[in-house]
Symmetry: C2
Subunit: 434 residues, 2 copies
């Protein structure tokens, strides 16, 4: 039997590209849920998404070769949903429901391709924009972020030989397993992988997902990554994102329709999804403003995902609001997903145990934690805070205020206008690590 | 390109045996050095080697299947030195000298095979004996120990799935690399691998050797494992073992020839080897007795390997003896090889730095340290103290006193007789971990 597969060896040293995104399902599930709604209700809206590097000190365009980035983006543009993937989307149950995707949407999705982009270098950073119909540009967010993050990891590890890489990943695995062992001590934990966008690499995310599946069994409730969910027979998880209220707010032509936008989103959503998919993301223009102005029916939704306030304070505020509205928090669900690490998961778990149903969406600290794993100090392996946010809708500027001003996006004068309208209550700056 | 090599897959699930010893060079270098001397000077002496499990609580025959053990021993008996191996032994330099092996010896070695053995189960332990000519039986020590230790590791890991094994080895690698990083802080360290006999497995020993080569560069002076030395272009290291004084003492028919045996060994050795190979192993019948009765010329030898006394105390005793004999210890070499871990290496290094040349032969704690690496408490992965010692020479009982009575071997009445002759000076019991 040959020791070396000659064909494979030749392939290995002649290949042009090691594609990062190899499937359109290698994205977050919420993008597909939102996509159906956008396709159904806002098919003619145009939306531009823009890359924002909040970690200014990292000069992305110095670390990553622009031609490689272009090659990876172009490769992703060549992808279509495969037959098997379409069948799985059509035939699988999501959140306990069959056929959550309409036949018309699936027909349209079959021919979906990622749209054009504009990429330039400026002052050591990339200007990267996706423009066109919202129902096309929206789908770039996750693959583009995953591509940039993985290209950055690859660049950071370029100087390492095979042995160093072996030790690096051995340490990362050992480190990850320490976390798994800590999570094993939380008997009723519900946690899932939300780490696609900021992952170190696809293969490493896959390993982390397998580690959670092996290590905490049923307490690992699934992954936001649709491809990993399909491949590993896990639940695909996720609901909706800030782009919905951001676009609807940008389209609003009056102050009252702007103030109504966050609730319009919920009504739109309800026309498509029910049950555990009815999760409110309250912080697009400040959670306090959202709760203050919310109609009572919002308290009938299944849960909230406080995404930019500290977990315990943010959760308590929502529990208090449920109580004011006469709802029993023990029947409600809080989903924590903002910058979690094991310390925060443990603290929130212990704090809220018995008070409310809760679930954790674990992101960057799950899929991109290589601190202390490299043989030398290698800041290129530290995760950074990059996002791809909707910046314009039908030519009008889009804004996110967030509970944390450090996470606000949009033109400063527009931000000021939104603050005048929604107020600035309880918004407080916290450092954004990732 | 096929994803699965069908032939390999079929091979994988039909193979009969995963051989542990695949080359007669997969042994310690000192066995081959001693073998040439035995072949030259004692070709007709018969010697029996016996397995001794000093870790009584471990019932080896319950952990290891006797048929598998037999299959591995039989496989090793089928091995011959390959052409490439013979050429390397003949053509390589060892300790800076070319052609340290005589053509006659090499001719004989070409046809060498491991001799018969006797294997039985008794009270949960194995009775394993190698009998025949000393120049044949001597060669069983290392492969037989390596086989038993690796079969024990395999049995301990049988219940683990692929993911658990992945984490186990990731942790072991991370742990090993912590040690490497500590050793990197000792600028003039000379350390080598002496871990063949107690290794977790061949592949793991190879990884550890590669880790040291990668991690500490020139400070890693080589390995006792001849095959790993050849494959990795490292120095093959090692000098001589207790079997030499033990056999010569067993053959002695008078009290004076018995007392002279340890020095006879040195004269025999000198007729074959010089330079850095002239390392005294003083503790077979107690170091104090050895030093007390040693002729002055022993102080001309290059160095000592104190093998059963605590490193610092044992080293100091020999330095003192060199001083008494008017030799400058700074020109002498101490080789530490008894149960070393990084703490002990650091302590001895700092203690002796500038006082004497020193080198470390790192064994079990290098190649078989999986403490804390398994997901559960798995005592089957803790190394145990098994040895294969010469028990008879030409039918007469062989004895080792050692500086540590816990490491003494031989018939109790014979041990008493040796103690009457050599004395019991400075012998002190220390727990033997490995």
């Amino acid at each position: 039997m040959p020791k070396t597969d000659i064909a494979r060896r030749v392939h290995n040293h002649t290949w042009k590209l090691d594609p990062i995104i190899r499937s359109l399902l290698d994205t977050d599930f919420y993008k597909i849920l939102m996509l159906q709604m956008i396709w159904g209700l806002y098919p003619k809206v145009e939306a531009t998404f823009s890359l924002i590097n909040r970690t200014k000190r990292v000069r992305l365009a110095d670390e990553i070769d622009i031609d490689q980035l272009r090659a990876q983006l172009d490769y992703a543009r060549g992808l279509r949903f495969s037959k098997k993937e379409m069948i799985w989307l059509a035939g699988n149950s999501f959140y306990g429901s069959k056929q959550i995707f309409e036949p018309g949407f699936l027909n349209w999705l079959e021919n979906f391709r990622l749209p054009e982009y504009r990429l330039e270098k400026r002052d050591g950073q990339f200007e990267l924009e996706f423009y066109g119909l919202w129902m096309e540009t929206s789908m770039w967010e996750i693959p583009a972020l995953a591509i940039i993050n993985e290209l950055r990891s690859r660049a950071a590890m370029k100087r390492y030989g095979p042995f160093t890489l072996d030790v690096l990943y051995a340490r990362a695995k050992a480190k990850m397993w320490e976390k798994v062992e800590r999570l094993q001590k939380l008997p009723d934990l519900k946690i899932s992988d939300f780490g696609t966008r900021r992952r170190h690499s696809f293969l490493w995310q896959r390993w982390c997902v397998e580690a959670l599946k092996e290590g905490i069994g049923e307490n690992f409730t699934g992954t936001s990554n649709v491809k990993l969910a399909m491949d590993n027979d896990l639940e695909a998880l996720g609901t909706n994102a800030h782009e919905l209220p951001m676009v609807l707010a940008a389209l609003a032509t009056t102050e009252s329709s702007l103030k109504a936008a966050p609730y319009q989103v919920l009504q739109d959503w309800e026309s498509y999804y029910g049950g555990n998919l009815k999760i409110v993301l309250p912080d697009a223009f400040g959670t306090a403003a959202f709760l203050r102005d919310a109609p009572d029916w919002v308290a009938d939704w299944t849960g909230f995902r406080p995404d930019s306030a500290p977990a315990i304070a943010g959760g308590e505020r929502i529990i208090e609001w449920w109580r004011q509205h006469g709802r029993d928090p023990r029947e409600k669900l809080l989903i924590f997903s903002d910058g979690l690490d094991v310390d925060m998961i443990e603290a929130a778990y212990l704090h809220f145990d018995g008070k409310v149903r809760m679930a954790f969406g674990w992101g960057t600290n799950l899929t991109n934690d290589f601190e202390g794993c490299a043989p030398d100090h290698n800041p290129g392996l530290d995760p950074i805070s990059i996002v791809i946010k909707v910046s314009k809708a039908n030519g009008r500027p889009a804004v996110k205020l967030s509970d944390n001003p450090a996470k606000a996006t949009g033109d400063p004068s527009e931000i000021d206008r939104y603050i005048r309208i929604f107020g600035n209550l309880d918004r407080a700056e916290h450092p954004v690590k990732v």
